[in-house]
Point group: C2
Chain length 106, copies 2
DNA sequence: GCGTATTGCTACAAATAATGTAGCGTACTG
DNA sequence: CAGTACGCTACATTATTTGTAGCAATACGC
C-alpha cells in the first residue's frame, strides 16, 4: 500500500522526517483526544474511557500503547495513565487549540 | 456507536465543546498532514497527493471537503488548494510541532 | 476465607473507513 | 484534433474501529 514503512512500526515516516511520524501518530483516532484528556491530571483506563465519550477499549488500549512507546504517556505504578514530561511539552503545544476552537465555532 | 452526533456532521461534539469537534476533525487520517503540506504554499490536488506519500485520492478528497467545510482550506478559482486565513492561524498553532518532533526523534 | 469492586487489558464479530487502481468530465494547450 | 493537466468519483480489497463481553490481578469490607 502507499504507506507503512518497512519496519511496520510507524507510518508516514518514509521520508525520515520526524514530523511526519508525529503527524501520523497524532492523526490516528483518539490520539489527540487522549493527550487532551490527560492534560492536567492522570486518569485510570476506565476514567479515560469515560472522558473519551466511551470509546471502545480496544482502540484506546492500542493508542495508549503507541503513546507510551512514543514516550508521551506512562502508566503510574499505582495505576492510572498520565503524561510524561515530554507528553506535557507536547500537550502544551496544543493548548492554544482551545482558544482557537472557541473562536472557530462561529 | 459510541460517537456520532445526531446531525451526523461532526463527531466528538456531543458535549458541545468546540475543542472536541476540532480534535476529532484533526484526528482523522491525513487531516494534520494536509494542513502541514499546505503550510506555506497552495498545491494542486495531485501535487498534494504526491506530497502526502501518494495517499489515495478518495480519503484526500474526503478530508479536503471536511477541511473546506470547516473553513480551513479553500479551492482557489484558478485551481489548487490553499489555506484560508483561519487555516493559516490553525497551522501556525502546529508549527512548534516541527521543533518538538526533532527533539523527540531521540 | 468469601463476595464484591476495582484495576489494566484482551477476544471477537460486525460495522466503518482507508487503500489502490482506474477512469470520468472539463478545461487548456499545441 | 491530440496531448495534458485539473478536480473528482467508482469500486473491490484491505485495514481499522466499534461495541460487547469478559479475563486475571489486586484490593476492600465482612
Amino acid at each position: 500500500m502507499a504507506k507503512q514503512a518497512a519496519s511496520g512500526k510507524v507510518r508516514g515516516s518514509r521520508t525520515g522526517r520526524p514530523v511526519m511520524a508525529l503527524l501520523d501518530l497524532l492523526g490516528r483516532r483518539w490520539s489527540l483526544r487522549i493527550l487532551w484528556e490527560l492534560r492536567d491530571a492522570p486518569l485510570t483506563s476506565r476514567g479515560l474511557r469515560t472522558a473519551c465519550d466511551d470509546a471502545s477499549p480496544t482502540v484506546l488500549q492500542a493508542r495508549l500503547t503507541e503513546l507510551r512507546e512514543a514516550g508521551f504517556v506512562e502508566l503510574g505504578d499505582g495505576g492510572g495513565y498520565g503524561l510524561t514530561a515530554l507528553g506535557r511539552d507536547l500537550c502544551a503545544t496544543f493548548m492554544p487549540l482551545h482558544r482557537f476552537a472557541e473562536r472557530w465555532k462561529k
